[in-house]
Amino acid sequence: MAVYANGEDFVRQGFTSKDGWAITFDHAYVTLADVTAYQTEPAYDPEASESLKAQEQITVAESKTVDLAEGDEQANPILIAEVDAPEGHYNALSWQMAEASDGPAAGSVLMLVGTAQKEGQTVNFTLQLGNEVTYTCGDFVGDERKGILKAGNSADLEATFHFDHIFGDGSAAPDDSLNTGALGFEPLAALASGGELVVDQATLQQSLAPEDYATLEKAVSGFGHVGEGHCGADS
């Protein structure tokens, strides 16, 4: 069983936030720990109160920091690990978005490095979020089924990260719940000085308006997905 991390085209190709900032990413470091795939019966529903009941599970032994912005605009999702696994339908996936212990993102759970531009303004940003979140997700939802492993074959699963949940999507309606629940980039741009913004979680908590910081925290809780499928979040 191969497990991949995917920031989608939002992070590979850039996008326009809900408030009109054109955002591109040089790096989007995220560290995944305790990555576990499950065969569950009944199927796990992250929006229900029932706990996940696994008949079989496999775990990736080591945590790994990946750069979701790695590669060109057409880059593939990034392999986290390949694990020998019993056959079956792995219809749930969980992982912790954990603090990186070393490397360029050391000390951060999620580190976003890039540029935002709007109406002649440019902000070079480095956002270093530090609050760990555990995502527990159901079945992958997308163009194809994933996680169905037959004897002697291989299969894959995907931890998907939705950057539009944090910044919003300028191509969606302003009153789309995606945008009403997203922080956007304007509150962050307001913290920049001389076109530079380097902030960590503590600074954001101190500097953002309380309602904006709450929106950011909630958006990060909804950041992890399995394709288009949703996850529960514990922090």
Partner: protein, 153 residues
């Protein structure tokens, strides 16, 4: 004794009906807005990788299908629309009773009875899928896109 006149019409109509059970699913966003024209894929227990049926929800986000009762087990139904999506499992036993349990507002309801004009549908299970809003770019993954075909049952 009076006779009863019978009239023969050139455009006679023959009507008949049968009853059967179908599963009805409604996809809604958490705002309550129906997932109109959502892409739907139904997976049978015997082959969860390949859609057994694909189709499109109606303008109320409703999709109905009649499972093949020779395949008891977990039937899975995926709704997708413009980057929003979810999948639900509907256990169906050999006695033709959908016994599903999922739904954000309380799960599959008990079997309800409904007669649809034309006498094709009789008895369905209703539930709702709820999705939080999202409009995404195409995600990068191996491709085997859904082929949308008219729903049929």
């Amino acid at each position: 004794m009076f006779g009863t006149a019978r009239h023969a019409y050139a455009h006679g109509v023959s009507m008949s009906y049968q009853t059967t059970e179908v599963i009805e699913i409604q996809g809604k966003y958490d705002s309550g807005e129906p997932m109109a024209d959502a892409q739907v894929a139904v997976y049978a227990p015997d082959d969860p990788s390949t859609p057994w049926l694909t189709g499109t929800a109606d303008d109320q986000g409703v999709f109905m299908f009649k499972p093949d009762l020779s395949q008891p087990g977990n039937w899975e139904v995926q709704f997708r629309l413009a980057g929003h999506g979810d999948i639900m499992t509907i256990p169906v036993d050999a006695e033709s009773n959908p016994v599903g349990t999922r739904g954000s507002t309380g799960g599959l309801n008990s079997v309800q009875k409904l007669i649809v004009f034309g006498a094709m549908t009789w008895g369905f299970v209703g539930t709702a899928l709820y999705f939080s809003g999202r409009k995404q770019r195409m995600q990068k993954s191996a491709d085997s896109g859904l082929q949308s075909t008219p729903s049929q049952f």
